[in-house]
C-alpha cells in the first residue's frame, strides 16, 4: 500500500486513516477518572486517614458503623467508583511516565499497568460485594 507525502512522492507505509479511537477512549477515561478523583479523594484521606485516627468520628473507626455502611449497595457502588478512578489514574500515569523515563515498550508497559489496575479493581469489587 502506498501513499503520497507532502512532497508528492510515494511511501510504502500509509498513515493510519482517521483518529486513534482506542487512544481517545483511554484519554477520555483518564479525564473522567481524574476529575472525579480530584473531587472525592481528598475528603476520604482527610477524614479516614488523618482526622479519624486523631479522634474525629469516622464511619470506619468502629466495626458496627463500618459494616452498616458497607452493607448499603449505594455505598458499595460509590466505593467501587472511588477505587476505579484511583487505580485508573495510576495505570494511565504510570503508562506515560515509565515511557518518559526511557522504557521503550508502549504495549508492554500498558499491559502491565492497566493489568495491575484491573486486578486491583477486581479485588476491590470482590471485597466490597462479598463483604458485610
Amino acid at each position: 500500500m502506498t501513499s503520497h507525502d507532502s512532497t508528492g512522492s510515494s511511501a510504502r507505509h500509509a498513515p493510519r486513516k482517521g483518529p486513534n479511537r482506542v487512544l481517545g477512549l483511554i484519554w477520555a477515561g483518564f479525564a473522567t477518572a481524574a476529575v472525579v478523583g480530584a473531587f472525592i479523594v481528598p475528603a476520604h484521606i482527610l477524614i479516614q486517614g488523618v482526622l479519624g485516627p486523631l479522634g474525629v468520628p469516622s464511619f470506619d473507626r468502629h466495626y458496627d458503623t463500618f459494616a452498616r455502611a458497607l452493607s448499603n449497595p449505594l455505598v458499595k457502588l460509590y466505593l467501587l467508583v472511588l477505587f476505579a478512578c484511583s487505580f485508573y489514574m495510576l495505570a494511565f500515569r504510570v503508562w506515560y511516565v515509565v515511557r518518559e523515563l526511557g522504557v521503550p515498550s508502549k504495549v508492554g508497559v500498558g499491559f502491565v499497568s492497566f493489568g495491575l489496575s484491573g486486578a486491583g479493581l477486581i479485588i476491590a469489587g470482590y471485597l466490597l460485594f462479598t463483604g458485610p
Partner: protein
Amino acid sequence: MSPMSSRDAGSQARLDGEARATAADGVSARIPTRTVQRRIAYPVKQPFTWWTRRRGYLLYMLRELTAVGIAAWMLLFLVEIARARQGAGGYEPLGGPLFVAISLVCLALALWHSLTFLSLAGLFMRIPLGDRTVPPRLIGRAMFGALGVVTVVIASLLIWGGA
C-alpha cells in the same frame, strides 16, 4: 530530451539515489532514497534523570506521581475493608502515627492532583455565553468552589456515618 514534471523529476532522483528538493514547502533538502521509501524512527534518547534539570519538569513528575500516593492510600483502605470481613472480633481500623503520617503525604499528593487538574478546566472548557465565552479564570474558580462543596459533603457523610 523532453521536459519532466516535478513528480517525474522526484521519481528519477529516487531511482538514481540522489538528493532532491522538496516542492510543497519550498524547503530544499538532501534526502536519501531510503527515507522516502521507508519510515525511519528517530527515538529521542535522554538520560533517566532528565526531570531533575528544571523545576517545571520536577513539578510535572511530582504531579504524575500523585497517582501513586492516591492508589497506595486506597490499598490501605482496601486492607480495612478486608479486615471488616473477619467480623467484629477481628476488625481493627488502621491508625497510629505512621498511618497518619502516610495519610498526610497522600493527602498532600491528592490535593496537588486536584489543584493541578482542576486548574486545567479553565483551559480546555469553552462555555458559550452570548457572543463570548465564560472566562477561564471563572471556570477555574467554579471548579475549586465545587471541590470545596464536594469535600464538605463527603466529609460530613463520613463523620455522620461514624457518629
